[in-house]
């Protein structure tokens, strides 16, 4: 009986050690993949905003179809399910600011990062409705998109 208990404890202990070891390896890879994926999503935001903003600034000639396509990309990107992109432990304190600038505050109690994401999605949808409707409409919609980007980066991104 006594040796049986000991064996069970031993097996449990070994299992805990083993899962945590395997878990760590998997977690590192999963976290790195999530960081890469969310940074890629940011790059795609930026790529599409580049066309819209270039038109707003007068650097690129306004083209309703091209603007509408970029804005619809932006809106579609804002609707992607992000639940796997922001795992616990993928902040800059854990990984270093050279890997990610996402601040731990994103995951802390009282975080408003989710609301900030919603504000961006709303601004992107408004842009989708505006972008094909003339340069002035596009210009107007850029303001709220910019504000929603800054709204999250203000509190939740480490500055360089």
């Amino acid at each position: 009986m006594k040796s049986g208990m000991f064996a069970i404890c031993g097996i449990l202990g070994a299992a805990v050690v083993a899962t945590s070891a395997i878990g760590d390896g998997h977690a590192d890879k999963a976290i790195e993949a999530a960081v890469k994926a969310r940074q890629s999503q940011m790059t795609l935001y930026s790529f599409n905003l580049g066309l819209l903003g270039g038109m707003a600034k007068g650097e690129i000639e306004y083209d309703a179809d091209a603007a509408a396509a970029a804005a619809s990309n932006l809106a579609a990107l804002s609707q992607l399910d992000q639940s796997r992109l922001w795992p616990q432990g993928s902040d800059n304190a854990a990984l270093g600011t050279d890997k990610t600038r996402a601040l731990p505050a994103i995951w802390e109690a009282g975080s408003t990062a989710g609301e900030k994401g919603m504000a961006f999605a709303n601004a992107a949808i408004a842009m989708e409705q505006a972008a094909g409707g003339g340069l002035d409409a596009l210009r107007g919609a850029m303001g709220d998109v910019g504000k929603s980007c800054g709204g999250c980066h203000e509190d939740y991104r480490q500055e360089n």
């Binding site: 930026s46 707003a56 600034k57 303001g143 998109v145 910019g146 504000k147 800054g150 980066h153 360089n160």
Partner: protein
């Protein structure tokens, strides 16, 4: 013995005289009628709410000037006070009191104010704009949140010493002296008298004064994390249009967006007229003191 005592007393007297708080000429602030709409413009251009609103305030709450923003520095931490128009803030201040605080760094009690309030910038403000800003702040909501004291190390916690600091670092003259057009003059006023860009983007000397010879050349972040970039004409390769658009929307030429304290700055500059943003951009494009 008597001689060294006399010398000690003489230097104490010299310190006392040289470190006296110097107030503004009262006649410059008489008969000024505050204009609310210009005051609002000055408020956003001067970035008051970046430090004096609660650090997590959003939207309309940016107009509640309860204070609380913390500036870490080599001298200790400065904590922005409540400047709302209630008893925890600046209730009862006259326009002249307000001007002395903002432009000369002297409180209504006659004490030096720490230069975390960038009066080294606001020293260049016109009295009319000071009065208009006061009128606008008086129209904002009252906050009862008490101001918290700064957390400064000895000897920096001795306010009287600031009198000497001001003698070395507080000047009301322009840094960029050659401005050829009205647009550049306006841009210079917005940057050098209101926007206080230099307070972060210009390096400081060992006693914490701005090293104006290295105007807008970038500086270490006083909080110790990272660097604040150079924005002088010789270092920043953005076009004037890029700068103006950044100040309007927060988007960089690469369509990254402003974050951190610059996101707060952009919320203010977004409320300015496009002429004012273009004037700031035009000024920055000539703001190099390096030949």
């Amino acid at each position: 013995m008597t001689l060294s005592l006399a010398m000690l007393l003489a230097s104490m007297a010299a310190f006392w005289i040289l470190s006296r708080p110097q107030v503004l000429p009262a006649e410059d602030y008489q008969n000024l009628v505050g204009d609310l709409s210009n005051g609002e413009r000055i408020f956003w251009a001067a970035g008051c709410s970046s430090c004096h609103a609660d650090p997590m305030a959003k939207g309309e709450d940016k107009l509640v000037l309860s204070g609380g923003y913390r500036i870490d520095s080599p001298f200790g931490a400065f904590i922005a006070p409540n400047i709302s128009p209630g008893s925890a803030g600046i209730a009862g201040w006259t326009t002249y009191d307000f001007a002395n605080a903002l432009v000369a760094g002297v409180s209504p009690k006659g004490q030096h104010i720490y230069p975390s309030l960038p009066y080294t910038t606001y020293a260049r403000m016109n009295p009319e704009d000071v009065a208009d800003l006061k009128a606008f702040i008086d129209s904002l909501p009252v906050s009862d949140v008490p101001s918290r004291p700064h957390e400064l190390r000895f000897p920096f916690n001795i306010r009287r010493g600031l009198g000497l600091w001001k003698r070395l670092n507080l000047r009301g003259d322009w840094v960029v002296t050659e401005v050829a057009t009205p647009q550049l003059q306006r841009g210079r006023y917005l940057v050098e008298a209101l926007g206080h860009c230099a307070e972060c983007h210009t390096p400081r000397n060992i006693i914490g004064g701005l090293d104006t010879r290295r105007w807008m050349q970038g500086a270490p972040n006083p909080s110790g994390k990272g660097d604040i970039p150079a924005i002088s004409a010789d270092k920043l390769d953005w076009s004037a249009g890029d700068i103006a658009y950044y100040l309007e929307t927060g988007f960089t030429p690469d369509f990254d967006s402003a974050g951190g304290q610059m996101a707060k700055v952009v919320l203010g500059t977004a409320k300015l007229s496009s002429e004012d943003r273009e004037a700031i951009a035009a000024y920055l494009k000539i703001s190099s003191l390096v030949d």
